[in-house]
Amino acid sequence: MHKRQIKIAVLSGKGGTGKTFVSVNLSACAASAIYLDCDVEEPNGHLFLKPESVSQKPVCTLLPVFDELKCVGCRKCVDFCRFNALAFIGKAPQVFSDVCHSCGGCALICPCGAVTEKPREIGHLECGSHKNVSVITGLLNVGEASGVPVIQAVLQEGSAQTKDFVVIDCPPGIACTVMESIEHADYCVLVAEPTAFGVHNFEMVYELVQLLKKPCGVVINKASAEHTVLDDLCRKEHIPVLCKIPYSEKTALAGAMGQLVSESDKDMHRIFSELLNRIQKEVVQ
């Protein structure tokens, strides 16, 4: 039977709810999976999956280079740049690499062919494997402003492989980095914590997935019997609650030590296998 690849994005809005915890354990439970770490500013999945046979690939963006000899000083490029990335200093424009968006506009607009583009490394990919899981981690160089090109590189590297599941570990928040990460996802798993901050940010991330028309379900992590605001909210909005993982000191400590609980704990293995099955059912519907 032909199995369609399922791309699952794991996101949360609020940081620290357990995106990586859910992502790495879901990946480990699948018979065949690719784990993509799109939290390129602060990637953590590799600490749990501990991939072997790791190879590195640089990720570059393009930066304009100005030829002083060809430049006639018309400043058309400086005027065109909407990011204020260019300033005319001396005999040619200079570029502020931290605000350049690599749009190619200055090269296009120059009437003298004085602008070429050269690659600039902003980060790299680390590709390895943990048993049946292909592990692809994106790392943005410290000091760089935008991780979006690194996220794009992670997703592209992942698309070169055909495994049953792709698990996309997303950055926190609801900004462009998150949107880039979930753009081609088939299903979004929203990991939420039942606290005042958690509920507030959950509402935001739910709004984002609705905007992008992505089917979604919720994992309530660090759940407790007392706080039911999330359950009530999900019931009201008809958002499926895929599973509830109770708060436990044992799990928290295991996580703190970088343990893959689905491999070390039978109950956790069952929880994540059932979660994977549930997601499959939701996608097929």
Binding site: K14, G16, E42, R82, L140, V142, A145, S146
Partner: protein, 287 residues
């Protein structure tokens, strides 16, 4: 006015909880929430006035006039952000993917593309006995760094005579964090004693160092893993980074937050430990 910024690298370590506590301890005249993606500080700070609201304009977005467009797709070929697609006869811009570079307006042979203002978020400034500046970025938008800068500027330009401003930051190390670091006197990194927390702490400390900003560290929920807490403490000692203290895991904290209160108002082990860290920060800031 001295500015203290609270960062973490990792999400969920307790930045907002710490910021709210410090605001109460210091009777801070000015504070700001620079986590513009997912702001939470307003949930634990009671402001007695309504905010002044203003729109935040991010980059402009391209818009194609379907009547002028002939569907030649020259714009599609040149768009580096895959933001334009042919939809039927004419091309259409996906506003969420558009980065506002304007290349499409330059290459279109039929002048069918123009750039339009886009409201990318809302700024809110509360001015009562204290000044509180915050903002909310719209879904999927970029330019969060620029919005962070506007939040800080709004606070700085409306406050008079304040000694200390407390700024709640966002997770990560990218543009909103870099924008928040600019011009502050000190960064307090609230670290989590986990492998992820340690890895993330090292990257945010490196970010602070690249931008030549003094950083100090404290550990939150330290007793969830004393081994890792010890590792953080010795890392700080090795790198000459002031280690200001450890805050225990305390159920009073989530209870207070869920009631919309700062932990500063609840006598508890966490409150005492946070007060201790706060006093050390004040001494280092020479206030």
């Amino acid at each position: 006015m001295k500015q203290l910024l609270i960062l973490s690298g990792k999400g969920g370590t307790g930045k907002t909880t710490t910021a709210a506590a410090f605001i109460a301890f210091s009777n801070a005249q000015a504070f700001a929430d620079c986590d513009v993606d997912a702001p939470n500080l307003h949930l634990v700070t009671q402001m007695e006035v309504e905010p002044q609201k203003s729109s935040y304009f991010g980059s402009q977005k391209a818009s194609i006039d379907a009547k002028k467009c002939v569907g030649c797709e020259i714009c599609v070929t040149h768009c580096r952000f895959h933001a334009i697609q042919k939809n039927g006869i004419a091309c259409e811009v996906n506003a969420l993917s558009c980065e506002g570079c304007g290349v499409c307006t330059a290459v279109c042979p039929h002048q069918a593309v123009r750039m339009e203002d886009d409201i990318a978020g809302d700024l809110m400034l509360y001015q009562g006995t204290t000044t509180f500046s915050t903002a909310k970025l719209k879904m999927g938008r970029g330019n969060s760094g620029k919005l962070v800068t506007e939040v800080k500027q709004a606070m700085a330009s409306s406050v008079q005579g304040a000694e200390l401003a407390i700024i709640d930051g966002s997770p990560g190390i990218g543009c909103p964090v870099i924008a928040s670091i600019s011009g502050v006197d000190m960064v307090l990194v609230v670290a989590e004693p986990s492998l992820s927390g340690i890895s993330d702490m090292k990257r945010i400390l490196k970010t602070c160092s690249i931008f030549a900003t003094k950083a100090v560290v404290c550990v939150n929920k330290y007793d969830t893993c004393v081994e890792n807490t010890a590792e953080i403490e010795s890392f700080c000692k090795e790198k000459d980074i002031p280690f200001l203290g450890k805050v225990p895991y305390d159920s009073h904290v989530s209870k207070a937050i869920n009631e919309g209160k700062s932990i500063a108002t609840v006598e508890s082990p966490a409150q005492a430990a946070l007060k201790d860290v706060y006093n050390k920060v004040i001494r280092l800031l020479e206030l």
